[in-house]
């Protein structure tokens, strides 16, 4: 008989004496991971974009006989205001929108908030006081949160205060990021986001129209641990949706009274397993789409809060390895578009009246940015210049 306890103690002590990794490397990796995860909040389309970017980069850098060296776009003129490399754009309504921009006359960039009041035809960039960041920094230096036609909040990782403007960026105030007190509901003109707390049910922090934050008194009663959407999605009909999961399964909750009460929406197929599926797409607060990439490619639709689900993805080409994710965006009329890499990206469509996805062509993917669509150029849909559209058919270049 072994003295298991002594052996175990020795083994754990041995393991614990391994030298730790470099602290500097870990710090760098953690900040990088945070930036990357923030970016992947736009999950579906971003997944397509990242795959496409890698493929495109490899293809463009691969030397071919007699080819000239790969051409890179020239840097913008010194001091010129340009969109961020990974654009942060959001429209509060059909006319009023905002975009984050930058000017990098030296190795330090100035952050700008660009405003449009005519649906993106013209833009007025204004510097955000005191908001600078190193040139070449990956990701966005701030999180753009549009609360209304003239109201914007900017949160940055390093600051305990948020910048807030109620006049389209002409004047700014600073508000504490930390929530104070509780509110009974998510008000009109407010936004909400999920706060995951290890070992506890999730919390919801409400960004109020005046730029301050409070905790929602009645978040959905979940088990720990996490949420896959950092934002609480407010649908067109005013319903609020929270998506995430615990150790045992994935869940989706809906509130139709501004966050006072919550009801769980049963998820279909493998989407209910822990860690499966991706963020649902919601149209008009009544049509719910769920896209599964693994273990099977399936696309589900429910119009009765999950009581029944229809599989629309029966004609999707299989991906046995489950390595290539599907992107998705829901249009203003409730039509679902599914993007299937690799290049060229194939687009499938199912209108609300259709019971299966049909292939509609090979076009760059696009995403919804509030009341507008945003699409990059090139087959990958990730390159400058970016374009805006109100209907997905006609596009206008986003030019600051």
């Amino acid at each position: 008989m072994h003295d298991v306890e002594r052996l175990l103690r020795d083994e754990l002590r041995r393991r614990s004496q391994l030298p730790p990794p470099s602290a500097a490397a870990v710090v760098t990796a953690v900040h990088g991971l945070r930036r990357r995860r923030r970016i992947t909040g736009v999950a579906a389309v971003c997944a397509v974009a990242v795959l496409a970017t890698v493929a495109g980069t490899v293809a463009s850098l691969r030397p071919t006989a007699g080819s000239a060296p790969p051409a890179f776009p020239s840097p913008p003129p010194v001091g010129a205001v340009s969109l961020l490399a990974e654009p942060e754009v959001h429209f509060a309504d059909a006319d009023h929108g905002f975009a984050l921009a930058q000017a990098c006359p030296t190795d330090v960039c100035q952050l700008y908030l660009a405003q449009t009041v005519d649906g993106g035809a013209t833009w007025q960039p204004r510097p955000v006081p005191g908001a600078t960041f190193p040139a070449g920094q990956g990701g966005s230096p701030a999180t753009l949160r549009v609360l209304g036609a003239t109201t914007v909040a900017l949160d940055t990782f390093e600051s305990p205060t948020r910048r807030f403007t109620a006049d389209g960026g002409r004047t700014w105030t600073e508000q504490p990021v930390q929530p104070r007190g509780t509110v009974p509901e998510i008000p009109e003109g407010g936004l909400a986001e999920v706060r995951s707390e290890p070992g506890k049910p999730i919390g919801i922090v409400v960004l109020l129209p005046d730029g301050t934050s409070s905790t929602l008194a009645t978040p959905p009663v979940t088990r720990p641990l996490t949420s896959m959407w950092s934002n609480v999605l407010r649908a067109d009909d005013g319903s609020d949706w929270v998506y995430g999961g615990d150790d045992n399964r994935t869940w989706l909750w809906v509130s139709r009274d501004r966050g006072r009460t919550w009801r769980e929406v049963p998820l279909p197929g493998d989407a209910a397993l822990p860690g499966n599926g991706q963020g649902p797409e919601i149209a008009h607060g009544r049509i719910v789409y769920v896209v599964e990439s693994y273990p099977k490619r399936r696309v589900w639709r429910s119009v009765d809060d999950g009581a029944h689900w229809a599989d629309l993805g029966r004609d999707l080409p299989p991906d046995p390895g489950g390595d290539i994710g599907l992107g998705a965006v829901v249009a203003f009329d409730g039509t679902l578009f599914v993007f299937g890499p690799p290049l060229p990206v194939t687009v499938y469509r199912a209108m609300p009246s259709e019971d299966r996805l049909g292939r509609v062509g090979d076009v760059p993917p696009w995403q919804r940015v509030g009341a507008r669509y945003l699409q990059g150029s090139g087959p990958k849909g990730t390159e400058q210049p970016f374009r805006l559209s109100a209907d997905g058919l006609t596009w206008t270049e986003l030019r600051l």
């Binding site: 730790p20 990794p21 602290a23 930390q178 150790d247």
Partner: protein, 169 residues
């Protein structure tokens, strides 16, 4: 500029967190991943954690929850496994064999059992303290430890009696 206070915390806490991560995972790459996942979550709640005054305790609990969470499986990270089970042959280096068998048996335990054993045998925490950290009842902790130790003992005794899996081929 990144948050200097958080960076300083990482420098100070890394040895302690590494110690836990290696003990839990038994594998360097997995431990590094666990450390990074943990610190990303701590960074997200840093203002609150720092204000509450116990960031290391928070980070340790976060690490345990992250480790226990099935969400990490969603990455579907491939696990390195040998082409064949290459158990060591019985020889004069008996203690080495036993250690190897114990390591394999430990790595095969369910995560909750392994976490309880690590907390109990690495830091000598009481059942009540472990229960508080894992958000379980003390009776559950005792049960997990009992089952974990029994599995380890069963594996080692089985190998000893039968000469180890290598001898069974």
């Amino acid at each position: 500029m990144p948050d200097q206070t958080f960076d300083e915390f990482v420098h100070a806490a890394l040895p302690a967190l590494s110690r836990y991560a290696y003990a839990l995972t038994g594998e360097r790459a997995a431990a590094d991943d666990l450390i990074q996942d943990t610190l990303v979550k701590v960074a997200g709640a840093w203002r609150r954690v720092h204000r509450d005054g116990s960031p290391l305790a928070y980070a340790r609990t976060t690490m345990l929850n992250t480790y226990l969470s099935a969400w990490r499986i969603r990455r579907r990270r491939p696990v390195s496994v040998p082409m064949e089970v290459d158990w060591p042959s019985p020889d004069a280096y008996g203690p080495v064999d036993v250690r190897d068998q114990l390591r394999r048996a430990l790595d095969a335990l369910p995560r909750a059992q392994r976490a309880v054993l690590v907390l109990g045998f690495l830091d000598d925490l009481s059942d009540e303290e472990i229960a508080a950290m894992l958000d379980r009842r003390p009776a559950t902790v005792r049960s997990l430890r009992h089952r974990g130790l029994a599995a380890l003992r069963r594996q080692l005794d089985s190998d000893q009696v039968e000469g180890g899996p290598y001898a069974r081929r």
